[in-house]
Amino acid sequence: MRPDTRWRLTDPDLVWRAWPGETEVVAFSPRAGSLHLLTSSAHALLQELSRRPLTTADITECIASETAVACDVVEEALPDLMQVLRDAELIQPVGQ
């Protein structure tokens, strides 16, 4: 995964629900008609991407600052998370 690749939501109309005291969040893509159960990290990532497309480096920085986790830890976990979200067709590189 190239750090300068810019990512965006596959469905800009993606919506989600979160309830107080719950760590899981559920998202729905009206375009695909699909529903996804997300971790709080995945939710944070999608929320950032819903504002604007971001590079992998930007995403790392955003998640690190929001979750107070060190950048290198986020950097290590991010490829797997991004791959899961990409496989679920929730995110895609800009231009695709």
Binding site: W16, R17, G21, E22, V26, G33
Partner: protein, 313 residues
Amino acid sequence: VTLTHLPDSVARRRLADPGLFLRVGPLTVRVCSTHESVNTYLRSHYGHFPLEDGPDAHFTIDLGAPQGVRRWIRPQVVFRADGHVPFYPLPASMASAMFEWGFNWCIARRVHHLLVLHCAVVSRGGRAVLLPAQPEAGKSTLSAALVAHGWEFASDEFALVDVETGAIHAMPRPISLKIGSSDIIAARWPAAQFSPDVFDLRGVRIRYLRPPIESAIKDRRAVDARWIAIPQYRAGWPTVVEPMSRARMLAHLADSSYNFSQFGRRGWDCLAAIVEGARSFTLTYSNIDEALAMFDRLSADNEDPRSRASTAA
């Protein structure tokens, strides 16, 4: 008018042509058949459901005889849904079971105006429990036991949701029980009425429990879902109730739906509202009395689950 109001000869004639227009929950189904066993089954298990005049119905189920020698030699029954034949014929002795299986198939495949959830529904004091379980989880046995225990029956297989209003409609059809389960229910509910035994396609002997008469009469009333429980019978296990996140239950309910994706955002908002208005949990049990006691405690609890609103984006 219900089927029990019609003389047997009239019912038989109407069943053959033009068919009986049965109102079951929010659906009208036209049933046509010349099989005497279908007439007998409908009279015993659907006898108190309202009959409509027709000609409009949400779908037509026709249980007829096949062409050729199977009409007479080892006779068979052919299931037609709106004229199509989706299944191979079965022995005529399975006609009433084929009606129920075909009815399930029609609801799952042909109901497009309502969100179809695969779940049992029972209620007490106007507050309902949805039981969206996987097959073989003991959902039917549990819902029948709850009804035998004084809960009101609303549905064994499906809840049909109007996504515009959020109303959850009951489908109080007969409950399919394996022989062991029907024996358990018969012991708890001496007045329970069962169909004759029939073998399902796996060779398992089952019976259909007639829904309580009052459930057929009240079938147009929407239910207010206050609890959503995923039951799982496990022999030898203690009774364990575990809270489930609403997010996870919302995902589960969507998975339990046959047509969730066709409603888009409206279906999403509707299911989210149902989940938000209810407490979600899983129930693992082997002792049915303990499970019933747990549901009794639930019904005595007056907490309003809607006090914990979601954040949505």
